[in-house]
């Protein structure tokens, strides 16, 4: 077996990529640290899982396979989503007064170009490793968090309007989900799905709750790096303890993009120009998003994500079912 032989992703690797897609935006975008938002994230995850559950647990091997043309169509929202992620990452770097954001953007595209020349499984493995490292931090979180947490912070009044919509708009991993299924065995896909559902419905909300409880402490110098790996510091503060978690934020976003682009690239046999054929539109979308932030408004994702993440896979599954029934009746 050589490196060029295509390998399926394991259940854990698929789950890691899905969670990284969510975490990438979680760290790059303004995340309201409040109990209400944690609850909304959990509820949204449960609803999304319920909507997708039959695709994984009933006739999963055949029904969830998208036809090639539909998988190709999936490129458009995926590229748009990646561009959106690039723009959010750029905005984060800019707001953190990071060194030379345009240069970093070039470096990011260099990394993407290099990553797309590697075997597809490398992104999935890297995602698995990153999530494993994050898992260690999560293990330390309760130990380090409870001693300094402020329970009263949970009752901080936050504007709860649009939080539900915000979570839907940030659920970019749903776009990857139908494509992810194309390179996984039914068993592995099922594992990925369950891991993603648990991660999103339980672990991410818990992180938000811990973040909310730590908000008071973040105003002081003595921050805990393990917690700050996951928590968001207010950007307007005079001090910034973001050094440790910014690695994770950039890493999550970059790996999520690599994972999505790899999947989009391998929908059909990629030519040597396929990589540039992906990166040039991505650069264009990113440029538009950075220069004109309203070009891809949050409202766009409100219908694009449900349509391509849930609607089209369901349509494909139903079409497949009808087609199978017709074939059966014709043969009998």
């Amino acid at each position: 077996m050589t490196n060029t032989d295509r390998k399926d992703w394991t259940g854990g690797q698929g789950m890691a990529l899905l969670l990284l897609c969510r975490l990438g935006l979680f760290f790059s975008h303004e995340t309201p640290y409040s109990t209400a938002y944690a609850l909304d994230v959990s509820m949204t995850a449960l609803l999304q899982a319920a909507l997708l559950l039959p695709l994984y647990f009933r006739n999963a091997p055949s029904a969830y396979q998208l036809p090639t043309w539909l998988a190709r169509c999936q490129r458009v929202p995926c590229l748009l989503w990646c561009g959106y992620l690039v723009a959010q990452l750029y905005r984060l770097m800019d707001s953190l007064r990071a060194a030379k954001p345009p240069l970093l953007l070039l470096l990011l595209f260099g990394v993407l170009l290099y990553a797309l020349t590697l075997p597809e499984v490398s992104a999935a493995r890297a995602a698995g490793l990153t999530i494993a490292l994050a898992g260690f931090a999560f293990l330390l979180l309760p130990i380090t968090g409870f001693s300094t947490a402020h329970v009263l912070s949970l009752y901080t009044p936050v504007d709860t309007a649009n939080l539900w919509g915000l979570e839907w708009a940030q659920s970019g991993e749903l776009l990857l989900m139908p494509l992810l299924r194309q390179c996984q065995s039914p068993k592995a896909a099922k594992q990925s799905f369950c891991g993603w559902a648990i991660g999103k419905a339980v672990v991410i909300p818990l992180t938000i709750v811990f973040g909310a409880m730590q908000n008071g402490r973040l105003q002081n110098w003595e921050g805990n790096p393990f917690f700050l790996l996951l928590a968001r510091t207010p950007l307007s503060d005079t001090f910034r303890m973001d050094g440790f978690w910014i690695w994770f934020a950039v890493g999550c976003a970059a790996l999520a993009m690599v994972g999505i682009l790899h999947r989009v690239k391998s929908v059909d046999r990629p030519s040597p120009f396929a990589v540039m054929g992906l990166l040039i539109p991505l650069a264009a979308v990113s440029g538009i998003c950075i220069l004109q932030p309203s070009a891809l408004p949050v409202s766009l994702w409100h219908w694009l994500i449900p349509l391509f993440g849930i609607g089209i896979p369901w349509a494909a599954a139903l079409y497949d079912r009808i087609h199978t029934c017709h074939e059966r009746s014709a043969s009998t």
Binding site: A98, G128, L129, R240
Partner: protein, 489 residues
């Protein structure tokens, strides 16, 4: 007689044959031809000077053939009689072609040719001078054996066989190098090695187009899948005990004649962090040491870059006292921190290389000049700030803990410094992603080096994240094949 030696069968006419041998060897000074008449047949005994033992030659060849008083009608009958009734050493072969003749001749065999016989008799009399077994210099330990591989292949095989007397342990000899015809030995345990891995390695070794194989580095690129990977997927060891431990896990080992290092396929990323002493200490202590090594790896790679990023781009991340200290030190230094760091790191590499290449008698002077004179003078004169020197020294010292990863560390350290200089912590993160992807893409014959974490394999973690006690470790012994199996679903 025309044509390439490997295409020709031995000529029965002794004179013609000797003439051809002399011409092919270009009258080389080390070719010794002794003419003698045995049993009434003109014969010639061929040896290569310096490759055989004269004692063995007289005891095992001259004495038995001098005792032959019977007369033989043909050379073939004479050689048949010697082969069947006279014991000429243990390692005996019949030579029918010139390429075999030359190979055996230069491997320390004595070859007896008889007039009229279309074959010769070869007897192994190897007696060339070789280095005796000594303690491995690169892989020292406290509790393991003190013997290491030497340059003599057969001796190395005996070191392995002494440790594993199982009939499952198989040695398979091959020759590699179109010109050097170097002997290689593939070692494996029949019942544990994945068959496809063995076949692919055999095939790859047979197809190596190199003219010579003078060290493991000559064949490693042909076995690895790419030269662009930062971390090797094929390991090396000079310890027979470590080599045996790898074979027990179902790996394939390759020994090369004239090289005191063995290759082991595959090698996972976590293996350079493991030593033989780990299995002699208390498991809890070993787990702690192992985590220290993982930490040392990150310190070795990232410390200079993180220091630079924080000092230049994110000074607010530092405590006020630390910031003041840094400011004071840097005020007198004429260069930027990035230049200072890169300068110190490159200076270290130059000193290390000089120390490695210089004769031992002078080598000590390098550390004195480098450590005391250059380091002290540079700081005293204000050319380099003390924090930069401290950070570089800490990073380099941390790298000593994992000497097998030296090459990768040397490449990554300045690369991360440059990334930090360009983009601060974000630059480090982006380069980190590229390195992570490169590492995750590294495979050898389908074995990903990032196992057992990616692909995740719980059983494999017993000796990676922790080191369990032997009682638990031996339950379901680890096989490297399991790693690949877990990557398939």
């Amino acid at each position: 007689m025309t044509g390439k030696p490997e295409q020709l069968a031995l000529c029965p006419d002794l004179e013609q044959s000797l003439c051809y041998i002399r011409e092919t060897a270009a009258y080389s000074a080390d070719l010794i031809i002794n003419r003698v008449t045995v049993g009434g047949i003109p014969c010639a005994l061929l040896c290569s000077e310096g490759m055989f033992s004269t004692t063995f030659l007289s005891e095992m060849v001259w004495e038995p053939i001098n005792q032959i008083s019977q007369t033989y009608a043909t050379g073939t009958a004479l050689l048949d009689a010697i082969q069947n009734h006279k014991l000429l050493g243990v390692d005996r072969k019949s030579v029918e072609r010139y390429d075999t003749l030359f190979h055996l001749l230069h491997s320390g065999f004595a070859i007896l040719l008889a007039d009229g016989a279309p074959f010769g008799l070869a007897t192994g009399l190897q007696g060339y001078v070789s280095r005796s077994i000594g303690e491995p210099t690169g892989e020292r330990n406290l509790f393991g054996g003190k013997d290491g591989f030497t340059e003599t292949l057969r001796l190395n095989l005996s070191l392995i066989r002494r440790r594993m007397k199982s009939p499952q342990l198989t040695f398979q000899m091959l020759q590699c190098g179109t010109l050097s015809k170097t002997d290689l030995c593939i070692c494996y345990l029949q019942d544990r090695v994945p068959k496809d891995l063995l076949d692919q390695i055999r095939q790859a070794l047979k197809n190596i187009p190199a003219e010579s194989v003078l060290s493991g580095g000559y064949i490693r690129p042909y076995l690895e899948e790419s030269d662009t990977h930062l971390f090797h997927s094929i390991g090396t060891t000079e310890r027979p005990d470590v080599f045996c431990a790898k074979l027990l896990e179902g790996r394939v080992g390759i020994l090369i004649d004239s090289t005191p290092f063995a290759l082991v396929i595959p090698q996972l990323f976590c293996e350079p962090f493991q030593t033989l002493d780990d299995y002699s200490y208390n498991p809890v202590y070993v787990t702690l040491v192992r985590w220290l090594k993982y930490l040392a790896f990150f310190v070795a790679v990232l410390l200079p870059a993180v220091y630079l990023a924080i000092a230049v781009w994110h000074p607010e991340l530092m405590h006020r006292t630390l910031l003041h200290l840094l400011l004071e030190s840097e005020q007198t230094a004429p260069f930027s921190i990035a230049t200072e760091l890169l300068g110190v790191l490159f200076m270290y590499e130059i000193l290390r290389e000089a120390d490695l290449r210089l004769p031992k008698s002078v080598g000590g002077a390098v550390s004195i000049i480098g450590g005391l004179i250059i380091g002290d003078a540079a700081v005293s004169s204000g050319l380099i700030s003390t924090p930069v020197l401290t950070v570089a020294a800490l990073s380099v010292t941390a790298g000593f803990v994992i000497p097998n990863l030296h090459q990768a560390l040397t490449l990554l350290r300045p690369a991360f410094v440059l990334a930090a200089a360009c983009g601060g912590l974000c630059g480090i993160a982006l380069l980190g992603v590229a390195v992570l992807l490169n590492t995750c893409a590294t495979e050898v014959y389908g074995f990903p080096i990032t196992a057992p974490i990616a692909p995740f394999y719980r059983k494999g973690l017993r000796d990676v994240v922790t080191r369990l006690g032997f009682r638990r470790l031996v339950k379901g012994n680890f096989r490297v094949e399991e790693v690949r199996a877990h990557d398939k679903h």
